[in-house]
Symmetry: D2
Subunit: 362 residues, 4 copies
């Protein structure tokens, strides 16, 4: 695992900048024989694509092309190269910021690290980089589907408004996909929408919390002691832009609980071990226990806001004010969800392969 | 990075079970010329060792022996093998649980993964495994010290009692080390102590939150897009037993903030870029920005409690009740802190080496 | 390091099949600030391209496109994605072999491994895959040039005809590049040419030995004990299609020498350590010693021959005869040389980065 | 894979210096349920141990201790830590060389790399380091045995004397183990013995070639394009001290063959694909084809010789003469064979695990 290579047996290499020629990824280790077409990947890219009243107005077509690794609609076992041309790119609005470090962005840190920085649209640090992740995740999801494992996500909370998610996985997913904010709770969705529009009107943005659930993952996933399933998921999730916190199961709330409340009682059902509650979020000692794997990610408000902010011009080494106008999502949570799902699916696939649970499909 | 190997250039391999013959680690990639003795490591192991009224009564001597990699008190550049014999081990109390899965423990998941399980003292899943981490972290800390970088930690909250940490890093560290609970706030410390004793009396346990701070880390650490500094830290921290959540800087609270509140204003000070606030916790776009790196870990209540719990006997496939008597810390937070510091120090060292900031010392 | 990812700090991911849409690679870890253009890469691809009377008549344009990682002609530090479209591909001649395993080829083994096989032009197992390696190697060569390190190669022996290489590195390279067979000895070149033409006429092919030399590599490269420089080079070189042997310095001949003959005497010259001979090929104990790094690769005769061969039809599970007509190099040695140079350059670059000898260029 | 960590799923970390306190290794990824005891490992260590008239007189007991990863004689799936104390070490003879670089040794290169050097007995660069490899290899061999796969080796040639190995695998192995030189040919063994004794008498040493054969390995092992089975084996073999060349199957001789001679004809036998010859050495396109895997390693003459040699004193930066008296094998080939077998067994095990052919044993 390195800067741009992720995974052990199911390995994803991503590349590309926001305003470069294209973005893409290379997926290595996909089991041979899997049927795979561009439409399998396209549908996940479409879920990530901006759209609607609450989102950035950038028209990203994000049409994926498969360049290798597929023969007669099946995976051959060799690297799958996926490419998405960057279209409709306009770097001009970024030109006036090229000597400024946008607050909340990676402008300064990339400059500090590399001594050079592609200022067009945030370069590699742009959320656009996640296109490659979603493409890889679509392949992982297709693999998992063969084993009855599904990965889904929704907004748990936006701008302080909590969503009721007591309806269960299928219902939450279905409801979430029916509104732009991916809220699995219609009442909350309306309140959230108001908050988001209000923030946008004020040239501001809001954050939130996404919840990701994995259903039917087998027990035994994760490699102790460092590559625990929860550690691996935390790594994957925290690598998604704008995420500032990750928790598993009951998460931070566990810090206020007693052991007798937190420990999930174990019972025997149909000749199998079952857990009566799921505070553990499906993971004990870093290994999956067969229950739903549940995690949440804290997502910061979009850093690009049109409100006046204080920053520095590094050429002049002087302080300046900055106002970032343009097409920016006032809330990134709904678009982050497919990315978080993708990373989760990639981790689960890799762990199932490590556990030798995924044979080739031919 | 694998189950028991951690790091890219500064690599730690740990091994050992709670009631096996020994635990240890092999550290590879330590820059040559560093002066290093067993006492450098011993002092960190002593910080991790249980003791006092509030802790487990197991007498772990934890005397480290250096078996390789050092010549005339200096690191030669070859692997440093560290070994700590397990002493005073008594596996008898675990015998009656050998067919039971202790709730909140990894008993079931190890069994599901491996089909076999060393039930003595939790085996590899025991907190004792962290001895190897702390030993490796002691080396990392010594390296970092040469560059003025320090890593410290303290209890931020235990059993719902929040500690006042407004005093600043040095003061927090000093105060935390003066009490058994590692609370940097004496008033809170007393309240926490009461809660912990109360839990123990009731055969129960409590959880909490630890905060870890890195001072003087240079800007530019972390490898985008997957091996971001915050992702790498989340991976390291979540791999520590009992951790159920990780957050960076303002963390989960950021989900309720506006962009204009969360973005840290940038200013120019002494010819250098500075951030006026530190909501980012020292990391932007996955790369350190030169400010304090701040993270928090949610730690669950010790799962071993003497209260009656419901579980399953997997030999008989029947439900049973379990009461785990014996020497167990009613609160693991203070002992987890040196482990969290160690993992943090290891990550920072590795990232500084990746950034070519650590030459050999000779 | 995995099937299609190579390197530790300077990492290359390659992808693509012979008759797929394109081939390419992603290079991660290239130091920022390096000036790099498509022409830097193109010139190495052109050296690999077939041409002339003795070569395959396939017209591969191999025009490289840089898709990411470069901004204003300089490397930004993010992944460099390189793409070469496959043009002029005609899969029809392969159709009649689609149920046959061509002798000397990977047809059977890919089928055994994956259960499915892209039979068009050899798929991923085709020599065409090496385009991505040469592209990555071109970047490595450009990095090395900044440090005065050069990598060159030539035919040492073809079809049993040995080349006189006593003229020294510069002369050997220059002479080798002046003839199609990359022989650094004109007399030998003529004899070799005869042998090659003779083989072709008979529907057959010949093998040979290539020698690769690295000049001015610093002492200290290589990581003991497994990732020794010679081990790493052997790994890289043996991964090139058609290579069946690798030797360093005096190589296999050393097995017939006495220690007193083989050991290179050490002397002091200009305040520096020097070796009076170079049987070691520049590597002692797996670490470079500052002398020329010299290695040789044994390259098998092209397996595609038009002579009748015995093979099996796996659909019918019957034996059949096969004659592989078409455009195939009767000797692959000259075209393998740029590939071997590329792999060598990539290894040396990676080792120099591991040794922290390559800073960023800005 | 790093300096001291080897393997992807079956991972070995070795540590230790010749005259340090101990040497050892940590093996991670061993399938759970395997029965394993110290005697399984001891028997391979004993094969490596010096002894007899032709070998070093150092009395290495090499008694292995298992410190972790085993419970009730079975592998639990957690890291197996193996330790061998260094006994009977006498560093005094090395003291007079501490400012000299012994020709043919890694003294200078370690110094150049690390700026510091453990001069006692060669430190980490000593052949003693291979104890850890042999221990790991013993575990790999035990795993492979469960699948009918065996790895054996013998001297193919020593001091220019070739051994007749036409008797077949079982016979070669049996004969080789019956003499100190591991020659599978009694006539040659006697000639070799004379040559070795002659060299020793003259204060000199001889080299040779070892051949390693893997029987019954399944087809499909190896990961194209970089981690080919032959590339991986070349990496492993070349990392063994004193190896200067590696070849697969017909090896370097292939460079003088025609394609029609080299290509192994394919036939159908018992409903399965068979190869009529084995020039390929069991590997095509980097993937095993089900035939015997055959490789050879060129081993240089022991660099420690008592003949006078020219070298440099780096403290004084002056040339000096050196005579290395003491207990050194005049021919390292027989003792290298168990090490080469170990590395081969480790690679085959890892590749079988990558190919998901090794489940857990419980």
């Amino acid at each position: 695992m390195t800067g741009s290579v992720f995974g052990q047996l199911f390995r994803t290499t991503t590349w590309g900048e926001s305003h470069g020629r294209a973005v893409g990824c290379v997926v290595e280790g996909c089991p041979s024989g899997l049927t795979l077409s561009e439409s399998d990947i396209q549908k996940e890219l479409d879920r990530r694509r901006p759209g609607g009243r609450l989102a950035s107005s950038r028209k990203e077509k994000d049409k994926v092309e498969i360049l290798s690794g597929i023969f007669e609609n099946r995976v051959t076992g060799t690297p799958i190269s996926l490419l998405i041309w960057n279209k409709g790119v306009d770097s001009k609005p970024y030109e006036k910021f090229k000597d400024l470090f946008r607050p909340g962005h990676a402008d300064y840190t990339y400059f500090a690290k590399y001594g050079i920085r592609d200022w067009r649209g945030g370069g590699r640090a742009s959320g656009r980089e996640t296109v490659g992740r979603v493409a890889a995740g679509a392949i992982a999801k297709k693999i998992l589907k063969n084993f009855g494992v599904s990965v889904g996500g929704y907004s748990k909370e936006i701008a302080g408004i909590k969503c009721d998610t007591s309806g269960g996985f299928e219902e939450n997913i279905q409801r979430a996909e029916s509104n732009e904010l991916r809220c699995p709770d219609e009442t909350a969705a309306k309140q959230v929408e108001e908050k988001v529009l209000e923030a946008r009107e004020e040239g501001d943005s809001v954050g939130g919390i996404a919840e990701i659930v994995v259903r039917n993952a087998p027990a035994g996933l994760g490699e102790p002691v460092f590559n625990k399933l929860d550690a691996y998921l935390a790594y994957a999730i925290m690598s998604v832009p704008a995420v500032k916190g990750v928790e598993i199961g009951t998460g931070f709330e566990v810090s206020r609980m007693r052991g007798s409340e937190d420990n999930d009682p174990i019972s025997v059902g149909k000749g199998d071990i079952k857990f009566e509650t799921n505070n553990a979020g499906g993971i004990l000692g870093g290994i999956s226990n067969g229950e739903d794997i549940v995690l949440r990610a804290a997502i910061k408000p979009t850093p690009s806001i049109s409100k006046t902010q204080k920053t520095a011009n590094y050429k002049k080494m002087e302080e300046e004010e900055i106002e970032i106008k343009g097409r920016h999502d006032p809330c990134i949570v709904p678009r982050a969800i497919p990315v978080l799902e993708a990373m989760t699916a990639v981790v689960i696939t890799d762990c199932m392969m490590m556990q030798r649970l995924i044979p080739r499909f031919v």
